[in-house]
């Protein structure tokens, strides 16, 4: 059999068959492994959590799914708007809980801003920020730049020294970890399990915070490429505002695409690159499919492998000496 030509069509799949498979798996996992009565889904307004919530409702019905909207001071207003739209569309019970006061009490914003001021002393009230990745796709070594915008709209970009980069990320990670604390509060209260919402690209490349959005009891779409998640959203008839939402981190106060922060390419191209790598396609073939040089395609492959290595520990269980104590069956 000749190999399928490398192009967007390789990601086509039977959405209905896959939805049925996932919706048979969810109640089986809940009853046989997790022994919980329903699901908590934190809804960001993005495509992944929306599809997870919709599949959860299709699997269990709306009365056994609880939605959480957890905005903070840097969240886009559109996120909460789309989250409400989805929850109303699905007919689930949901709660909006502003986590900004909890984050402020923990020092999330002050620790982040203190690190930013070490590189941009003028940074203060009314300024916005984001981190962007640089270097890797041009054949260099990955590093990070801080972009800030003054209240007057003037932008500055500086390369982040390691110490400041780590402190900004560490402070920002409070957001995902506080959200997960809220997920589990409601899961414990309701005797439900927590849904994790990564797609295959995010899960493979470690694009999540350990003990934050990486923590969950089940991850129903971690095997689906992001392109396939969008197709599933349309198949499930989700509102257009959600189906056409552009993926963002919704974590920094300036708009930030996921490809700016983490991935080498926009998601559709990253999906294709990951598929090609998993199916042993050459860098030359990937380059032709994406309209980039073979050398650039090789760098994309190298970057995927490097991120796998660097983030492997994020999804790993804690290391033990020997086999550790026996786990109860």
């Amino acid at each position: 059999m000749s190999a399928q030509p490398l192009g967007p069509a390789v990601l086509n799949y039977d959405c209905e068959a896959e939805a049925q498979r996932i919706c048979e798996w969810i109640p089986r996992v809940l009853t046989q492994r997790l022994r919980r009565r329903g699901l908590v889904v934190a809804i960001s307004g993005g495509i992944d959590s929306s599809v997870c919530a919709a599949l959860s409702v299709r699997a269990l019905g709306p009365k056994k799914v609880f939605g959480l909207l957890l905005p903070e001071q840097d969240s886009s207003g559109f996120s909460t708007e789309r989250g409400r739209l989805l929850a109303e569309h699905l007919g689930i019970e949901y709660q909006v809980h502003d986590i900004a006061p909890a984050l402020a009490a923990l020092g999330c914003y002050t620790q982040r801003d203190e690190a930013i001021r070490r590189v941009i002393p003028a940074y203060g009230e009314g300024w916005k920020n984001k981190i962007v990745i640089a270097g890797g796709t041009e054949g260099g070594i990955n590093f990070f730049k801080l972009v800030v915008q003054s209240p007057a709209g003037e932008q500055q970009t500086v390369r982040l020294p390691l110490k400041e980069y780590l402190q900004i990320v560490a402070a920002t990670n409070f957001k995902q970890r506080v959200r997960k604390t809220m997920d589990y509060y409601h899961a414990d209260r309701l005797n439900y399990a927590v849904v994790g919402t990564p797609n295959r690209l995010e899960y493979d490349q470690g694009f999540f915070v350990k003990n934050g959005d990486g923590s969950a009891d089940l991850k129903p779409i971690a095997h689906l490429y992001k392109t396939q998640v969008y197709a599933m959203a349309r198949h499930l008839g989700l509102p257009e505002a959600i189906c056409s939402a552009v993926p963002t981190t919704d974590t920094y106060s300036l708009p930030q695409g996921q490809d700016e922060f983490y991935f080498a390419l926009p998601y559709a191209q990253m999906d294709l690159a990951l598929w090609a790598l998993e199916h042993q396609r050459s860098a030359e073939e990937l380059g032709q499919a994406l309209g980039i040089s073979t050398a650039q395609a090789q760098r994309v492959y190298d970057d995927i492998r490097a991120k796998r290595r660097a983030t492997e520990y994020l999804a790993a269980a804690p290391e033990l000496i020997g086999d550790g104590p026996a786990q109860a069956a």
Binding site: A134, G135, G139, I141, N142, F143, L162, A306, R309
Partner: protein, 85 residues
């Protein structure tokens, strides 16, 4: 061996290899290929070089040709110190 290479090798041994038994990289060994450094490791190395040798490493300098082996680092630091760039 030059003091730059010896210093950087010691820095890598102290901060990345941690006495776990891995051999220190040879002069021409790629840190990337031998998985000695990841991207965070390179940022640590850059901070060390800037602090130790009083040089400023620009965005355009952040390429494997300058930083991915002991020999490359030695040549790069000497160029920077000599004001060639």
């Amino acid at each position: 061996m030059s003091s730059i290479k010896a210093d950087v090798r010691r820095y890598i041994e102290d901060n990345f290899l941690l006495g776990a038994g891995a051999a220190a990289p040879g002069d021409d060994d790629s840190f990337l290929e031998h998985q000695v450094l990841d991207s965070t490791g390179f940022l640590e190395l850059v901070a060390h070089l800037e602090e130790t040798y009083g040089i400023k490493i620009g965005d355009d300098d952040m390429v494997p040709e300058n930083l991915d082996s002991l020999n490359a680092i030695e040549a790069f630091v000497q160029r920077k110190q000599g004001g060639a760039e």
